[in-house]
């Protein structure tokens, strides 16, 4: 059974060792940073590509973000996704508004004859961590949804999924069409190949511009938590430091 799969990803900065904010405390200073997507979402993209390789069909990647987010969409297409949808938004939308914009795009796709059998989300976005966009989309579409998945298999026209819980894995089984939110560890994503990168440049990318509604979770300001960057006590250099380390371990009651 060929599948039609959609993956939703979000462009975020690679913050490195320290987060620096812009003067107005509304956003991270990203001038010297590269960008990526959440590892959870990378695993969603990899799973979609594998499913299409096995079962045939077509895959689409979607993001709501600035024009520069085309970079992340091309990265996903370099891994094997067929086409991309860019929903242009300069400022971050909250969870409700993000879901609404994605739903509008899905409705437009449907009107153009494209129905998705399976939609991948990250369990949570890397930056906002709202834990909600996938579930909101599932409700609006009236489709089953399981979250935080570490294993997905097609079985009898439906899905058999596993979620890690303390002491084991909980198994869910339900029919397609469906929504899943996934976590890193679902698979080990491939690296893009050079031919993959070349092909990605020519793959189709559609752009739409949703309106940003008033935010239900409305940012006042960002704050870097205290306690970042209090220098460590240097116990020594090289192997000679071993006795000082043992002393620290002794104080902790471990030796």
């Amino acid at each position: 059974m060929p599948l039609n799969i959609l993956c939703c990803v979000k462009r975020v900065p690679m913050t490195g060792g320290r987060i620096v904010l812009q003067a107005d405390a509304q956003a991270i200073e990203t001038r010297h940073l590269g960008f990526t997507i959440s590892p959870h979402e990378e695993c969603g993209v990899e799973e979609a590509v594998r499913l299409i390789e096995q079962h045939g069909g077509s895959s689409t990647v979607l993001t709501l973000g600035p024009a520069e987010a085309e970079e992340q969409l091309r990265d996903c297409m370099a891994l094997g996704i067929d086409r991309a949808i860019l929903l242009l938004a300069q400022d971050e939308f909250d969870g409700q508004a993000t879901a609404a914009a994605i739903l509008e795009a899905i409705a437009a796709e449907r009107a153009a004859g494209t129905e998705y059998d399976l939609i991948f989300f990250g369990n949570e976005s890397a930056d906002a961590g709202g834990y909600q966009v996938g579930i909101r989309v599932a409700h609006a579409l009236g489709r089953p949804c399981a979250t935080g998945l570490k294993s997905i298999a097609l079985a009898d026209g439906g899905l058999r999924c596993e979620q890690e819980v303390p002491g084991g894995r909980d198994v869910y089984q339900f029919a397609l069409p469906a929504i899943v939110t996934v976590k890193e560890g679902l698979n080990l994503p491939r690296y893009p190949s050079v031919p993959g990168r070349m092909r990605a440049k020519r793959k189709p990318l559609e752009t739409r511009t949703p309106v940003r509604p008033a935010a239900g979770v409305e940012r006042v300001r960002l704050v870097v938590p205290e306690g970042q960057g209090t220098q460590a006590e240097i116990l020594g250099h090289g192997p000679d430091a071993a006795p000082a380390v043992v002393e620290v371990l002794r104080q902790a009651g471990l030796v």
Partner: protein, 326 residues
């Protein structure tokens, strides 16, 4: 017009993260001048509900429905949304555990209300004001929370689980939510046991020794494993290691890996990216081993040894053996 809290429970008592959520919610309810009420779902809910007096809960609503015997996320969400409709509380608050968060997102979707996840502070009002975690806790966001009912979760292990200043008598009230077949379409059909290999789980380990890109290879973990074994601890790693395929993702510490809370954390050859640090904020002490004195991990550790992990770790393991032998 109560403040309603979803309380999760094990063995007939409220669990730790729910007690933390109740502590924050109690302050919120006092500031709002409203009573604190709870909602409980699943086996053992009755018993847990009756024990909430010390935590200041005046009324505990226990959901009773055949469909709620196995975990079904949308059914939990419907149960919450249903109760919100009946009680019209000023706020619905839940612990930030995976299940409670999932149920809250379903409730928010059903009721079409905003939801703020992982809050560490909240003050009532219209809008309410909250401080919430972004980037797994590496960044905070102060926000105005709108909506007729304020929906938010409380970040685990960030708020102290205090008891109420005066215990109250909790009234237990049962209710039956109106669940549809669709609400029960996704539910746990089976619990697969995972083989822990008999080792110590990363999340619960008292000592964690982790290796990063600085180990150089899968084989480069030998001195990391040796020190972990000497201390009876677990081995962890950074994401650079898992994406290189040197260790399984189950070993990864960080924002998208495991969150650890050991007595001592020993990261070796790990630079200390914010996403890695998000996983070890619960560590009592951090002892970093790194060739680079300017690595962010050194700035964020309590102790550091500057040097090559392949030389430093064997020396530490040997010194431990010597200290124990002598």
């Amino acid at each position: 017009m109560a403040v309603l809290v979803l309380v999760e429970h094990v063995g007939g008592t409220a669990d730790d993260v729910s007690r933390q959520a109740l502590a924050l919610a109690r302050g919120y309810a006092e500031a709002a001048g409203q009573p604190l009420e709870a909602v409980l779902i699943g086996a053992g809910a009755d018993q847990a509900a009756a024990g909430l007096g010390d935590l200041g809960v005046q009324t505990a609503h226990v959901a009773v429905h055949d469909g709620l015997s196995a975990y079904a996320p949308q059914a939990w969400g419907r149960t919450l949304a249903d109760l919100v409709e009946r009680l019209a509380p000023v706020a619905l608050i839940a612990p930030g555990s995976e299940r409670a968060t999932e149920a809250m997102a379903h409730a928010a979707a059903i009721a079409d209300l905003p939801l703020a996840a992982n809050c560490i502070e909240a003050a009532p009002g219209d809008p309410a004001t909250v401080t919430r975690l972004r980037w797994g806790g590496s960044l905070l966001e102060q926000a105005r929370l709108h909506g007729a009912v304020k929906l938010f979760t409380v970040a685990p292990h960030m708020v102290e689980a205090t008891a109420a200043s005066a215990a109250v008598q909790t009234t237990v009230a049962e209710f039956t939510p109106a669940l549809t077949d669709a609400d029960l379409a996704v539910r746990v059909v089976e619990r697969a046991q995972t083989d822990s290999g008999g080792g110590i789980s990363l999340a619960d380990a008292k000592v964690v020794v982790s290796g990063g890109r600085g180990t150089g290879s899968a084989e480069g973990f030998a001195p990391v494993e040796a020190l972990a074994a000497a201390l009876g601890g677990a081995v962890g790693c950074s994401r650079a290691v898992t994406i290189a395929g040197w260790r399984p993702h189950t070993d990864q510490v960080g924002q998208t890996g495991t969150k650890i809370a050991p007595e001592i954390y020993i990261p070796c050859g790990i630079s200390g990216a914010t996403q890695h640090m998000a996983g070890c904020k619960g560590a009592k002490r951090i002892l970093a081993i790194n060739t680079d004195p300017d690595a962010p991990i050194v700035a964020n550790a309590d102790y550091a040894v500057i040097g090559d992990l392949h030389e430093v770790l064997p020396a530490i393991t040997a010194a431990i053996a010597k200290a124990r032998g002598g």
